[in-house]
Symmetry: C2
């Protein structure tokens, strides 16, 4: 078990390796949370692009509320990877999504970073097991998968690879929480993690519909923005269907609409609705509801939908 000299709360200096849309978004986020950030990217124009990205994001970040002492001045663009990570207390890698690039880069980062520092990858698709193969100290490497833009969307999915020490997964999860993110810590690797699997299921079905002439991209988008998309900022798919069951909640929903899982409503085949799956869903929804009964959830949902519609309306009206 690795000893981490710096606690998740004690971090003041992070390194961001790769400074494109995602890496640059991380830089903006960490600066706004008050960290000193050292960034490195091999592209010639990377430093200029990065500073422009931070400039563009700063008004939004200021409006959301900067941490005490946060400043754009706390960004240093290093001229080598080794320089960027030499004194870092945490490293976030955001290189292109090519396995070989990730393997090489993580091995270089691992070799150059003090051994008691956790290294996290922004990968949206590769497992840490396949990325950490060439790393000298793979036990401190984790996936910390963000969503675009990382300076606004709170979610980070944290998971280790086969050679990762669980203490690194715990340390990273705690650090991301301290740094203002919403963290989902996964027990084991699943391709695409959680949110991307759900998002990808929508995306693939959408592509099938366009390929078959069943819907246009504009209709597909409207079907979400005018429909279920208005519920999803407050209630995910499970609690949404918990409410679709009326006062009987998820139990009623599964017991009555279970057979619709056999319908050809999407090209994705549903799993068998066993008693065990039914009960896991019912108990899981109780947990996710955090003590709120159906009437309370409905009241919250309705308030959120009204306000979300108002926000979207204003943004559309103000659109240039």
């Amino acid at each position: 078990m690795t000893e981490y000299t710096v606690s998740p709360e004690g971090v003041s200096h992070v390194a961001c390796v790769g400074a494109g849309v995602i890496g640059g978004g991380w830089v903006a986020h960490f600066l706004a949370r008050g960290y000193r950030v050292t960034a490195w990217d091999p592209a010639d124009d990377a430093a200029d692009k990065l500073r422009r990205l931070v400039e563009a994001a700063w008004p939004a970040l200021t409006e959301l509320g900067l941490a005490e002492g946060a400043s754009r001045e706390h960004l240093t663009v290093a001229s080598t990877l080794e320089e960027a990570v030499a004194e870092a207390q945490f490293v976030q890698e955001s290189a292109p999504e090519t396995l070989e690039i990730k393997q090489d880069l993580l091995a270089r980062i691992d070799a150059a970073t003090p051994t008691d520092v956790v290294i996290s990858s922004s990968t949206s698709g590769h497992g840490m097991t396949e990325m950490q193969v060439d790393c000298p100290t793979p036990q401190r490497l984790v996936v910390g998968h963000p969503f675009n833009p990382p300076y606004l969307i709170p979610l980070v999915e944290v998971v280790g690879g086969e050679k990762t020490d669980q203490s690194a997964v715990r340390w990273a999860s705690e650090f991301f929480e301290v740094a203002g993110k919403s963290v989902i810590t996964m027990d084991h690797e699943v391709p695409g993690f959680i949110a991307n699997r759900l998002q990808e299921a929508i995306w693939r079905e959408a592509l099938h519909m366009v390929a078959n002439g069943e819907a246009t991209p504009a209709q597909l988008d409207a079907s979400i923005t005018e429909g279920p998309g208005l519920r999803w900022p407050l209630l995910g798919p499970c609690l949404t269907f918990h409410l679709a069951g009326g006062e009987g909640g998820m139990a009623h929903m599964l017991d009555h609409f279970g057979p619709s899982l056999k319908s050809p409503w999407t090209r994705l085949e549903a799993p068998e609705l066993t008693d065990e799956l039914r009960n896991r869903m019912v108990e899981g929804c109780e947990e996710a509801a955090e003590g709120r009964d159906i009437a309370e959830l409905v009241a919250d949902r309705d308030r959120a939908i009204i306000e979300v519609m108002r926000v979207v309306d204003n943004v559309r009206k103000g659109a240039s």
Copy 2:
């Protein structure tokens, strides 16, 4: 081709057959938009439940803005189906999702409703072709599929069956627009219509993940509410990925990330990314963007996310 005596703008009296969560939601919506509503439901306690639902929804509807003359007093609960529809200028059916029930009920509604009136079904899964088999005048029957709660979520998907006259589809689409809904008119029947196919793809993948112990319902919900769900009220899945391509938009996204469609990120197999599909997606996103370039879309997205997060935060804090 049927003649409709009343124009979509001229409707003042609608009938709602079935007054559960969806039918009752329609009642609340139509009352708030200033219509007189006659409702019928066979359940003993239906009238009481319906009045409670309308009471519960009314504060939200008032806040959103009632139509001139709108009043809860304009609701009549009829004692028979025939009485409910006798003088209606539009009928919305919201019975349980059982094909035989829908077939029987629509045939009864069809027989009792003046022949120049359009009849719409709230079905979320059955096609009109299979539901209208026993109807004497099937040409005026359409699907008008709402989302829960129908008094808040704008989307209605309108589509006919094989025996439906396209004039009824057009009349219904116009009427729903006049009645304040966002309408997607579909050319032909697809099981699950559009939004439910996308929603069902997410739902099935979510059930697989719970069945396999890969995620809990609370994690699945958090992965949406803290992640992509914050973007979806403004940008649907197509424009979301249009932005994921950076300045190159959907074209860059498909040309560079196309291979990830082969990844096992969900159990749903992707379609072949042919040149034709690529081009339809690229052109469709241009259409959906309505002239906004990537920088404008990003600025709108960021403003919406910030405000949506604020809304959700306030609702959560105020939660009882």
